[in-house]
């Protein structure tokens, strides 16, 4: 009994220590963002601001040559469009793969799965060239940030798993009532797979919100660049004013953390499911 309790204490100590390390960067970001310039650079560091400078966030928000509202709107616009579009293409394809019979279904689905293994490095340069004026002419547009991401094989895969779980009898009954596929999909199947839809929406939104390399490559004007890319010139100009830098990092990180805290079940289940069956 005594050893049992000791091991349980040990377990908690291990988990707690790990959790502190994992959460520390968030804590350090927030507390630094409220310190004065001098206090942020004091040594030894202080664990809480001696005076809370909430105005740091306003200063960071109004930082010269940085237009946070514009960058935020860009990101929100791109991420929302990508998410909605991906859901439409993924739902249709996943439903067809799970519930409709057509020639070449297995081959096509296998090909889709194979594309997961195409590494980004291989497609990055050709896609960049594809955006140039010579071909699609999408360089430095929203279109370039949106259209290439409107189909997600991962989402199709996940949704197909869920559509496979919709009882066949329901489909039969719908057919007898004269409902076609689209009608059945819209009024019966979709409501049944709602949790999967939420997972897919969240994961695609997050991926789009956090995407960096592609928008860095295909955009140049600050007017259409997303926050991830806008953060870099801001960090260069803020230099070693770490209290402002941390306020800027908070702007980018906190919205996703907020969404995550509300909906973490869907994130974690999505990763666990696709992970196991991937």
């Amino acid at each position: 009994m005594a050893s049992l309790r000791a091991s349980s204490v040990l377990k908690h100590a291990f988990l707690l220590l790990g959790a502190i390390v994992m959460a520390f960067p968030f804590y350090w970001m927030l507390t630094t963002s409220f310190k004065s310039f001098v206090e942020a650079q004091s040594y030894p560091p202080t664990f809480l601001p001696s005076v809370w400078h909430f105005e740091n966030w306003i200063e960071a928000w109004n930082f010269p040559n940085t237009r946070w509202p514009r960058s935020f709107l860009n990101t929100i616009f791109v991420a929302t469009t990508v998410t909605l579009g991906t859901i439409v293409t993924a739902v249709l394809a996943a439903y067809a793969f799970a519930r409709m019979s057509f020639r070449g279904r297995t081959v096509l689905f296998s090909l889709f799965l194979l594309t997961i293994f195409i590494p980004n490095e291989a497609t990055l340069i050709p896609n960049f060239v594809l955006m140039s004026r010579r071909y699609l002419g999408w360089y430095d547009t929203y279109t370039a940030q949106i259209v290439p991401f409107l189909a997600s094989v991962f989402s199709i895969f996940l949704l197909r798993q869920f559509f496979l779980g919709v009882p066949k009898e329901l489909q039969e009954a719908a057919r007898l009532d004269g409902a076609g596929h689209l009608r059945f999909l819209w009024s019966v199947a979709l409501p049944l797979v709602r949790p999967a839809l939420i997972t897919v929406a969240l994961i695609n939104f997050l991926a789009s919100w956090n995407s960096f390399l592609w928008p860095l490559l295909v955009t140049s004007s600050p007017d259409i660049r997303p926050i991830q890319v806008a953060l870099l010139p801001f960090s260069n100009e803020a230099g070693t004013q770490y209290h402002l830098l941390m306020a800027g990092a908070s702007f980018v990180i906190l919205p996703t953390v907020a969404v995550y805290l509300v909906a973490q079940r869907y994130f974690i289940e999505g990763v666990a499911r696709s992970g196991i069956r991937g």
């Binding site: 189909a151 990180i253 805290l261």
Partner: protein, 331 residues
């Protein structure tokens, strides 16, 4: 006879319509994946056979590959260095991430108070933006006022310039006891270790969640049977948990290795390939080469490098399947 014919014809028409409808359903996804994934990967190979900088110049055959693989050339030196850095990066991140994630998942699985809360905290870094989180780590790693140097001063470790220190870590440790190592044994630079620390922090949660899901799928009966047979905790872990979890472990091993081989954003923000190219992984080198396109042959060379990287990644994945895949237990 006639009636049968019309019925068959009707059936055929229904099937045809159903097929057409299905094709319409998959069409958008097929077009998008085709245009932005499949065609570009074919085009990548074609581009690697050209001289292409600002504009397309000419077909160049295997010139780019020759330039990269010629042991006397500067391109080879760059690429070999980048490959070495990439391999160190994989070795510094993948085993560490997996060991910690496995331990955390195992302890969480045994059921403790606040399991959901712990899981949420461990997973949180994974959903944060790499760029913004890397900025936070830049601050923690700061050589003058960073938190890490302050914390380490309590265990007697002197201030380090984490992100700008090109010396190999083995050499740094050896110097502590006055030993001079040959440069081949100097090890990865401290800067690469710092980038790896960030990477481990960022990805542990993802792996923990997958391991936890795998553990939850193991039937309790196995454990009970083992316990009745008098197996101890470590024995149960070795003989039951590990084999039954091996598909998840293998999956994470593959995914994490591929991910580390192509890491970009965190390195771009934290060190931008420096100091002295000691964090310039292959992806970083491809990016830089590609941006030389304004002066020379960036697209051709960059595409060739990506193609070589893809071959290496595929080769390593095949090796992993050959060597570790055999040990995976699929029930």
């Amino acid at each position: 006879m006639l009636a049968g014919d019309t019925r068959a014809a009707q059936r055929r028409r229904r099937v045809l319509i159903e097929h057409l409808e299905a094709y319409l359903f998959v069409l958008p996804a097929v077009v998008l994946v085709g245009v932005f994934d499949v065609l570009p990967s074919i085009a990548a190979f074609a581009m690697s056979l050209t001289r292409w900088g600002v504009i397309y110049e000419r077909f160049a055959g295997v010139e780019n590959y020759q330039a990269i693989l010629d042991p006397t050339g500067t391109r080879f030196a760059e690429f070999a260095n980048a490959l070495g850095v990439t391999i160190w990066y994989v070795l510094l991140t993948v085993p560490v991430e997996m060991a910690i994630a496995l331990a955390v998942a195992f302890v969480l699985y045994q059921g403790t108070v606040g399991r959901g809360m712990y899981r949420a905290v461990y997973f949180m870094p994974y959903i944060t933006s790499v760029v913004a989180a890397a900025l936070v780590f830049e601050w923690i790693f700061d050589s003058n006022f960073g938190f890490l140097n302050w914390a380490l001063s309590f265990v007697g470790i002197g201030s380090q310039d984490w992100l700008r220190e090109p010396s190999g870590v083995f050499q740094m440790i050896a110097s502590g006891v006055g030993i001079e190592l040959p440069s081949a044994l100097a090890g990865p630079s401290l800067a690469l270790v710092a980038v790896s620390i960030f990477t481990v922090w960022h990805f542990i949660g993802f792996q923990t969640v997958i391991f936890l899901a795998g553990l939850t799928n193991i039937s309790r009966e196995y454990y009970e049977a083992a316990r009745i047979d008098g197996a101890g905790g470590w024995q149960i872990f070795r003989k039951i948990t590990l084999p039954l979890l091996s598909p998840s472990i293998f999956f994470v091993f593959i995914i994490a290795t591929i991910g580390a081989m192509r890491a970009f954003s965190q390195i771009y923000v934290l060190t931008n390939g420096g100091p002295l190219d000691t964090t310039r992984t292959v992806s970083m080198l491809i990016f830089r080469t590609f941006f030389e396109r304004t002066s020379s042959n960036g697209i051709g060379l960059g595409a060739a490098m990506s193609f070589i990287l893809v071959l290496i990644v595929v080769g390593i994945t095949v090796l992993q399947f050959r060597i570790a895949g055999r040990k995976v237990f699929y029930g």
